[in-house]
Symmetry: C2
Subunit: 309 residues, 2 copies
Amino acid sequence: MNEFDLISKYFSWPLSDTSVVLGVGDDGAICDVESGYQLVTSIDTLIAGVHFPKSTSAADIAHKALAVNLSDMAAMGALPKHFTLALTLPEVDQSWLEDFSQSLQQLSTQSGVSLIGGDTTKGPLSIAISIVGWVESGKALRRSGAQIGDGVYVSNTIGDAAFSLWQLNNNDAPDSGCLVKLNRPMPQVELGRSLQGIASACIDISDGLKQDLCHILKASKVSARIEVEKIPLAKVLTDHVNKKNDWSLVLNGGDDYELCFTVPVKNQTMLSGISKRCGVKITQVGVICESGDLEIVGAKNIGRSYQHF
Amino acid sequence: MNEFDLISKYFSWPLSDTSVVLGVGDDGAICDVESGYQLVTSIDTLIAGVHFPKSTSAADIAHKALAVNLSDMAAMGALPKHFTLALTLPEVDQSWLEDFSQSLQQLSTQSGVSLIGGDTTKGPLSIAISIVGWVESGKALRRSGAQIGDGVYVSNTIGDAAFSLWQLNNNDAPDSGCLVKLNRPMPQVELGRSLQGIASACIDISDGLKQDLCHILKASKVSARIEVEKIPLAKVLTDHVNKKNDWSLVLNGGDDYELCFTVPVKNQTMLSGISKRCGVKITQVGVICESGDLEIVGAKNIGRSYQHF
């Protein structure tokens, strides 16, 4: 099977998106852009043994590779539209490709985002996805808008994915709820869209709450005080924290792909409606304050954030 | 040095492009699109040991990674605008990064294309670049428009990059002109733009003239007859072909990043003006004919095209 047959068999499903003028199969894809929108662009790579254990299933890898890019769109308040896939494979394994393709198509259909092109190459397993979304002109959520007095919020629960990875690394029977968060994270696209005009800054939690919140603080030139007891946790993680007296998975665990965002006081009454409409729990974990170090109240053992190198 | 310092030091140079509303440093980049344009999108990955010898310099790798993506824009007749970079590095080597960054900035400035985002991860060396260009609505060059009777053309000379790689693999002293084509290919963006409304189909030669022309033929549902004696060759390659009586480097050698395109008879008189204006040699190598196998006249030893797997 050559590259072109492979693309045609596994990556050329029909698209319903009328903005795609020419999809997979030429030197580039052609897309229309509606007026009144700006483009939001992002790229993320997953590498075997770095971003997922080598034993991860093809379906989980495909889901996650797209989900982390959708999560960037969520963090910008953008509507995901199109993506391209650069797939590097050690060999052509048709059963692996079948599972990968099905899972990718499933999440892309569910999210209304179209695969419009890509390339496949031979090499150590890695998946780079580049995504383009649309955002109403001037309405994107950025990291830089947090103001003193704004509340700091997170969606759903924090640390589930890191706890699951910790269980896998310690040969514990993985908690099924947390394992789903590790392998099949659901990007908060609808929440991101709903936070337009409500949140003053937003980021998705990929490297850990502490580090990602610090990106907001640095970009916004402010600081924050958060209280660990307010951070929403799954029951198994509460038990883990209590037993070990260790908050590092909660504060530094990456891969949750929940949103961390700041909201001015005047907009905070709207959050319960957004929470209900999106079916997402929203919890205030702290408040933005004047510049200085991030203050973390209530945690003894914090540990170190994820470092890429 | 963490990921964020690395990005800030090596990949955050000032941009003059006013369509970039928000560049490197948030979850996504934000760009305006002018009305009257469609987007053209492409992604290409280079992997150490597959797409370039492991001894290739950082500057050559950076140039080539961007050039192959610019070449996709050229083949579509699009104006390259923005790109994102997914850089996977085995380690942080500041001297390597310095060279990589300088070379990338140089070609991007020269080509008027802005680096707007990306990610860096630890792993086996690979570089994925995703590029977005603009094309006047409805004016993109596609592979599918070739018609019976159209001439088949190529830009400049063919096979130089493959000959250079062959020399390197055979421990021959590399011909300097061919080595430049291998390591620093110059994408034919201006030529691609000029062929809008002139060419009926276009592709860039990345996998070899034979295979890439066949993509045009398949997409256009036609065939072609080409004459090897008409294919423009560098002097050293003419000598090689005569000595070895072997056309495989010319027909199957990839990595030239010249354009192969088809032009209806009525437009052919305009090619000499385009050639002069773009400073690019344009040569007719054959003609489009009815469906059937591609006919290659005059070559005995043709060999096999590059296969990705």
